[in-house]
Symmetry: C2
Subunit: 131 residues, 2 copies
């Protein structure tokens, strides 16, 4: 037995982090917003395999966890812009390290050939989004 007592604030904050961003879509949403704000429809276009319902839900959760700012403009047609909060911006370097780790640990995956979207068309190899 390795130990009987584990004092692990780190484990619990790690769990908390994973509860917030540890799923299929949220890291990608944060990544896509890292260059600036984006509209709902653009996010949906850039992540072709997500449904509107799920995207809506993910954006709500990210907003309620303080990672996203939602700005709704009273126009016709309506416009909603999503952008990262400071909290989320602080997370970007870590996300970068997570992707760096995958590139090193799984060189055979050849991630450099992977695109989300090219010239407005859906990619032929978006299978990484399908688990």
């Amino acid at each position: 037995m390795a130990r009987k007592y584990i004092d692990n604030p780190n484990a619990c904050s790690l769990v908390h982090t994973m509860n917030i961003i540890g799923n299929k879509w949220k890291p990608i949403i944060l990544y896509l917003l890292s260059n600036g704000s984006m509209r709902f429809g653009m996010l949906n276009t850039l992540i072709p395999t997500i449904s509107k319902k799920v995207l809506t839900n993910q954006l709500k959760e990210l907003e309620s966890d303080g990672l996203l700012l939602r700005q709704s403009f009273a126009e016709i047609p309506p416009r909603v812009e999503y952008s990262l909060t400071e909290k989320a911006i602080g997370l970007l370097p870590v996300l970068r390290q997570l992707s760096d780790w995958a590139n090193e640990a799984y060189p055979e995956m050849e991630f450099e050939q992977c695109r989300i979207i090219e010239n407005g068309k859906k990619p032929a190899y978006n299978n990484v989004y399908k688990k």
Copy 2:
């Protein structure tokens, strides 16, 4: 619109990382094994709210993704030891940064009061494991 074309090996490797470790239990399993190998039953004791079936499944997936080494000893009663691979060890610093981020971004959570287990008893506040 922020951009029409996104060249994002980082996004895809990030997705891959999250497919591997981005769920409720796997980061905790990796964290618990960071000090050395551990048996199945000990992991189950240290994560009281996981069922055997799910723990088995998580361990299998981690093993097939090259993060865990599984050593089965032909004894009676049987003994199985799990330990981290080099690949997983390379991930530990990033996991540490993820927990650091949560501590900074959510100071009100007071993770330092959170334990997985104390002196062999189940903790009174393991709610962080229940989403």
